[in-house]
């Protein structure tokens, strides 16, 4: 869109823009390098003792120890385990929430809405503490429960938006061929909404993975606690930065790969998805069932 905003640059402004670009690169890279060098300088503390810089080998030699990697690996596994369990529950709760909010009966709709607003407006951390103290579940299940309820509420809202965005004819057609309202929702509307909202749902699952680090505060032994609390306290202050960088790198690897997956799926289920659907791989098991993929592809071009 930016190319629309100004005329195609002539030779003079192209040269100028190149110059600014080079200067900008130099300034940014220079600042970054300066930061690295500055952090690497040996530091003299107030009492005159000299500490080695951050990149000094004496700050990194713990990583020769296999046990350190083992602890980090177990921490990462604990993080992933919590995220996986919470993701499953969050999806289930999200589906329930979306159905409850769209229910025709006010007796279901209104309480669901109130509950949903409550869960969405409350910090996950507070919910974890609440579940930990009130239900005495232990830190793992406190974390799982809080994460799944909170993310379930958000996924539920996304699914509801997806169902609302469908053309009305989808529901009407389902009812017209004699499906019950619940069956219409499950078999006709929900598969389409789920596919359309898949990028948002996966983005929310990245958030969930990130938020497992909150369980550190209620005492769950995950990556952050293993790396920054246990290992750093055991090996001493001088290794704190090294452990921080390694833990950061592990988190970034996990989250960025999940985000990358989300982007790929977003691209695949985007507007051009109609041609790439692999329908033959999953033949409809039930002959009564309307093929959601064909409908999904068509309704998408209508709604967007």
């Amino acid at each position: 869109m930016s190319s629309v905003l100004y005329d195609a640059p002539g030779p003079k402004s192209r040269a100028r823009s190149r110059l600014i670009s080079v200067l900008g690169t130099i300034v940014l890279a220079g600042g970054f390098l300066a930061l690295i060098v500055l952090l690497g300088l040996p530091k003299i503390s107030a009492n005159g003792a000299v500490e080695p810089g951050l990149w000094d080998i004496s700050r990194w030699d713990v990583f020769n120890d296999l046990l350190v990697w083992r602890t980090l690996g177990f921490g990462a596994l604990a993080t992933l385990r919590m995220a996986a369990v919470a993701a499953v529950f969050a999806l289930v709760i999200g589906v329930l929430f979306s159905f409850g909010r769209l229910s025709a009966s006010a007796w279901i709709r209104v309480p669901t809405t109130v509950l949903l607003e409550f869960f969405r407006g409350m910090p996950v951390l507070l919910m974890m503490l609440f579940i930990l103290l009130v239900f005495a579940t232990g830190s793992f299940w406190a974390g799982v429960a809080a994460l799944s309820v909170y993310n379930g509420a958000i996924i539920g809202e996304a699914l509801r938006a997806g169902i609302n965005a469908l053309p009305r004819g989808q529901r009407e057609a389902g009812l017209a061929i004699g499906l019950t309202p619940v069956a219409t929702r499950f078999r006709i509307e929900f598969p389409q909404a789920f596919r359309q909202m898949l990028p948002i749902i996966i983005a929310q699952l990245v958030v969930l993975l990130k938020d497992t680090s909150l369980a550190f505060i209620v005492g769950y032994n995950e990556l952050l606690r293993a790396g920054l609390n246990q290992l750093a306290n055991f090996f001493g202050e001088q290794y704190k930065f090294s452990f921080f960088f390694i833990v950061l790198a592990i988190y970034l690897t996990m989250n960025l790969s999940l985000s990358w997956l989300a982007r790929r799926i977003a691209k695949r289920t985007g507007p051009q998805a109609g041609s790439v659907t692999d329908e033959d791989s999953t033949p409809p098991a039930d002959p009564d069932r309307v093929d959601p993929q064909a409908l999904g592809a068509r309704s998408k071009s209508q709604t967007f």
Partner: protein
């Protein structure tokens, strides 16, 4: 219930600190986010690359890790202005890429035809931006920005685990003292959070509806 009423001053102090964190980090994140968003759509490629890298890196780092860095590691670098300030810095840095993304999506959401039309009737670059693109972009940006603010409100609770006495810190302290009245205490603290988040959510919803009518 008496546990809540007895400790009301503590809760109010925590609420004040939560609001303080929200306001400081909100303003700081808006400023940094504006700069990053401007760099992200700027014609200078090195700025674009830098802004993209910054956004991706910070967005994929857990807030707990950011605040851990601020609370434990920055003091080791002889930078320790106090835990409240450190937490405010951490929240600012963590929130800024989300603000930047909201702003960028708003500018991208303005239809290209608008800019084309403005250009074709002879408006300059500055006029196109100020009279045509920005008024629409700002309107579209407000609901996602409010959502970022709501998330920030909830995220301030993490600062409570890093030596800042805000609402979550107050909840932890009071539940430690009064183990017999955990449920009312936690519900009261949740109510304080909801006092901020639910009105913000209602405002966002209303503005969204208004914009939807306009389009």
């Amino acid at each position: 219930m008496d546990a809540v009423i007895d400790n009301l001053p503590l809760f109010l102090e925590g609420f004040r600190n939560t609001l303080g964190l929200l306001i400081i980090a909100g303003i700081g994140a808006s400023v940094i986010g504006l700069i990053v968003a401007a760099m992200r759509i700027s014609p200078i490629s090195s700025f674009r690359v830098f802004a993209t890298a910054y956004t991706e890196l910070v967005r994929n780092t857990p807030l707990t890790l950011v605040l851990f860095f601020c609370a434990y590691l920055l003091p080791l670098l002889e930078f320790s202005p106090g835990y409240f300030q450190l937490a405010a810095i951490g929240l600012t840095v963590y929130t800024s890429p989300f603000v930047a993304e909201a702003l960028r999506s708003g500018v991208n959401g303005v239809h290209v035809g608008q800019a084309e039309a403005a250009r074709s009737v002879g408006l300059t670059f500055g006029q196109t931006l100020t009279f045509v693109v920005m008024p629409q972009a700002i309107r579209m940006v407000v609901p996602p920005l409010i959502n970022v603010l709501i998330a920030l409100t909830k995220n301030t609770s993490v600062a409570g685990a890093f030596f800042v006495f805000e609402l979550f810190g107050a909840a932890r302290k009071v539940t430690n003292d009064r183990g017999d009245a955990v449920i009312p205490i936690l519900l009261a603290v949740a109510a304080f959070y909801l006092v901020i988040t639910i009105p913000l959510g209602l405002i966002a919803g209303r503005i969204e509806k208004k914009v939807a009518v306009l389009r």
